[in-house]
């Protein structure tokens, strides 16, 4: 699914920089990060389900999926700039701003709701596009440009929602935060969700379906375009990408816009999930920082060039599953931040082991 870098021609400048092996070995190495994260997630989640006092039920799965969704999307948003060796510190702010927009607009008649959703998604993408313009045309480092724009977006969010509140339409809110059967029943689709062919899938939580759709409809097509490959190429070596005639500016603008779009979708879902908007600065900061952690756990290098939004999604799931485990094991809430920090440090420090494999000391410095 994410062997995007390997396929046709535009990826060549990147392939040439690879050092080890070819074929299967290369393929394995490129996906080692994601596979490792996936194994970690499956292990943690299985552990969680086996130890859950009420055993495995659809309700627990739905609840978990709801809690994962916003962070997963914000982490996917963070991935795109990280792939080109940048960083987007505004993803949490964009998420919050779009959430506040949603709490004003996603209510009323079906047409109004549809328009509201479109406006939400567009405003997320617009925020990202502004980031991209500051980075590309202002030639300011992404990390510091997005630090500044995140303050602006938080200011706008505070203007929209000085105090938490607002409202989103309940039916929609209920439909996207439960399973497929309820989704169909709410909108009167497929015999109110009782159609025979739907039954095998009826238990799947809607957020997971949405995640899969976003990946299949947005992320995978994006990585198969020249623009998408250019994002990877910039991360490997911007000057090589430039010399190969790749559209650097377009790729950067597209990358930040896509990041804004993902973060906006996360904010829209958060508003639907909580039925309100809240311009919470600490929460926005926490989402931004967790998104960086999720990106790293998901196997994307902060130096750019390798990784995938799918890995980041799994990274977000790993982070959330860690807190699920705390919940059932009755870890004192006071100790939870400590364990979260230690797990994060341990996970990233394992990367230090790769230093032992290096043959040339100079490889240490990238």
């Amino acid at each position: 699914m994410s062997d995007t870098v390997l396929t046709p021609t535009a990826a060549e400048p990147q392939l040439k920089t690879r050092r080890w092996g070819e074929g299967l070995g290369l393929r394995w190495r490129q996906h080692a990060g994601i596979l490792g994260a996936l194994a970690l997630f499956l292990g943690l989640y299985l552990f969680y389900q086996l130890n859950h006092p009420r055993g495995f039920t659809g309700q627990i799965l739905i609840q978990n999926a709801n809690e994962v969704f916003a962070l997963a999307l914000v982490s996917m948003a963070q991935t795109v700039p990280v792939l080109m060796a940048g960083l987007d510190l505004s993803v949490g702010a964009v998420m919050t701003l779009v959430g506040c927009v949603a709490s004003h607009l996603v209510d009323g008649s079906p047409a109004e709701i549809a328009l509201g959703i479109v406006v939400c998604i567009a405003s997320g993408a617009a925020c990202g596009f502004v980031n991209g313009c500051v980075v590309v045309y202002g030639r300011i480092q992404p990390i510091i440009a997005t630090l500044a724009t995140s303050a602006i977006y938080m200011g706008l969010a505070l203007i929209l929602r000085p105090t938490p509140g607002g409202k989103v339409q309940e039916d929609l809110s209920w439909a996207v935060t439960s399973d497929l059967r309820e989704f169909a029943a709410t909108f009167g689709l497929f015999d109110d969700g009782e159609a025979a062919w739907l039954q095998p899938f009826a238990w799947i939580p809607v957020p997971l379906v949405l995640l899969a759709l976003i990946i299949i409809l947005i992320w995978v097509p994006f990585t198969r375009t020249v623009t998408g490959r250019t994002v990877y190429a910039i991360g490997s070596s911007e000057s090589a990408a430039y010399m190969s005639g790749l559209p650097i500016n377009r790729a950067k603008l597209a990358a930040f816009t896509l990041a804004g779009l993902f973060a906006g979708l996360g904010g829209l879902f958060l508003a639907l999930q909580t039925s309100s908007g809240n311009a919470d600065i600490p929460q926005a900061g926490a989402y931004t920082l967790n998104s960086i952690a999720a990106v790293v756990i998901g196997g994307t290098s902060l130096l750019g060039g390798t990784g995938s939004a799918i890995g980041s999604m799994i990274g977000a799931m790993v982070l959330r599953t860690i807190s699920f485990n705390f919940r059932i094991f009755d870890v004192a809430p006071l100790l939870q931040p400590l364990f979260e920090g230690i797990v994060l440090l341990a996970a990233v420090s394992l990367g230090g082991l790769k230093l032992l494999r290096l043959k040339n000391k100079l490889e240490v410095f990238r």
């Binding site: 960083l87 500051v134 202002g138 030639r139 300011i140 480092q141 990390i143 510091i144 440009a145 630090l147 500044a148 724009t149 995140s150 303050a151 602006i152 938080m154 200011g155 706008l156 505070l158 203007i159 000085p162 911007e238 000057s239 430039y242 010399m243 650097i248 600490p282 920082l289 960086i292 952690a293 790293v296 902060l302 130096l303 006071l334 100790l335 939870q336 931040p337 400590l338 364990f339 979260e340 920090g341 230690i342 994060l344 440090l345 990233v348 420090s349 990367g351 230090g352 230093l355 000391k361 100079l362 240490v364 410095f365 990238r366």
Partner: protein
């Protein structure tokens, strides 16, 4: 100051070097802030508190905590790394200082900061974990330790008399002692950056670590020391801040990380490392502090503050912080 800090990057000549531009623009912007603020107060209240030395000293006293944090952070940013563990290093230092109390309060606080910095340095230099993520993890660990230590409440212990003296008192009723501490930290920072091999090594690593390594610099050790300095500076700021508010409290460091990064960058230090002068950071801190105080005089709501803050950073960088075009 001009001539001493020039030695490493800009050649000695009368023409403005590329590193003078940020300092001059930032200083000009400070004057602009003062003018606008004074115009506002004259118009609405008929007086000009911003131009009174007493008021300015008061603002600088509050700003000295940010100044000390920024000095430490600048050293790390010059390496091309970043220290995101500042908020809870600062808080942990404050909490440990008040908990230990007595004559060992201040060494304990700075020691906590130093220790966190050393762990950061070990992770970044020897394990080669990206600093962004390692210091983030350390921040979470310190937060966890402090929450577990205090039970999530503000600790009941109070700051010692010496800590309060350093943070609150004024010599002769005029000059705040905190300002003198900031001055001392600044002198140490300038001396390290411009007069020692350590300083030269820091700039060298920020420019190209490989080249620094090949020219015989023990880059890992330099990175370790730089992070230790940053941690110690955050610890010192925490000790002073606890003295200023007579006690430590949860989240006391949260308001310091982003303004410190902004101050360093507005002062002309390249966020990718290798370039920047301490004088710029100094002016950057003053700019941020005065901007904050003018905005609170204007009773600007939080939303407007955030927007103005962001616009100022972007417009300052558009003037002098732009990168070069990639041309292969």
């Amino acid at each position: 100051m001009n001539r001493t800090t020039d030695t490493i990057i800009a050649p000695r000549r009368l023409r403005l070097g590329p590193d003078d531009k940020p300092v001059i623009f930032a200083a000009g912007f400070v004057l602009l802030i003062l003018l606008v603020g004074t115009g506002y107060t004259v118009y609405t209240q008929g007086n000009a508190p911003l131009l009174q030395p007493q008021y300015l000293l008061q603002q600088l006293q509050v700003g000295s905590f940010l100044g000390i944090v920024s000095a430490g952070l600048m050293v790390v940013i010059l390496l091309g790394h970043i220290d995101l563990s500042v908020p809870w290093t600062l808080t942990a230092a404050a909490m440990m200082a008040t908990a230990v109390g007595g004559p060992w309060a201040i060494p304990a606080g700075i020691g906590v900061g130093l220790l966190v910095g050393i762990v950061n340095g070990l992770g970044v230099a020897y394990l080669r974990v990206p600093s962004m993520i390692f210091t983030l993890g350390m921040n979470a660990v310190m937060r966890g330790l402090m929450v577990a230590h205090t039970g999530g409440f503000a600790p009941a212990t109070a700051a010692t008399d010496l800590m309060q003296y350093l943070a609150v008192s004024r010599i002769g009723g005029v000059i705040p002692v905190a300002l003198l501490v900031w001055l001392a930290v600044s002198i140490v920072a300038v001396a390290i950056l411009t007069r020692t091999t350590l300083g030269r090594a820091i700039y060298a690593i920020g420019n190209r670590e490989r080249a620094a390594y090949l020219s015989g610099i023990d880059t890992n050790r330099v990175i370790l020391i730089a992070f230790a300095l940053s941690g110690a500076a955050a610890g010192l700021a925490g000790v002073l801040l606890a003295g200023y508010s007579t006690k430590a409290y949860q989240g006391m460091g949260d308001a310091y990380l982003l303004p410190a990064i902004a101050a360093v960058v507005i002062g002309g230090t390249n966020i990718l490392g290798g370039r920047g002068r301490y004088l710029g950071t100094l002016v950057g801190v003053i700019l941020i502090v005065l901007l904050n105080s003018v905005l609170s005089i204007m009773q600007m709501p939080e939303a407007g503050r955030q927007i103005i803050y962001g616009c100022v950073i972007i417009s300052m960088l558009l003037v002098y912080g732009r990168g070069g075009r990639v041309t292969g």
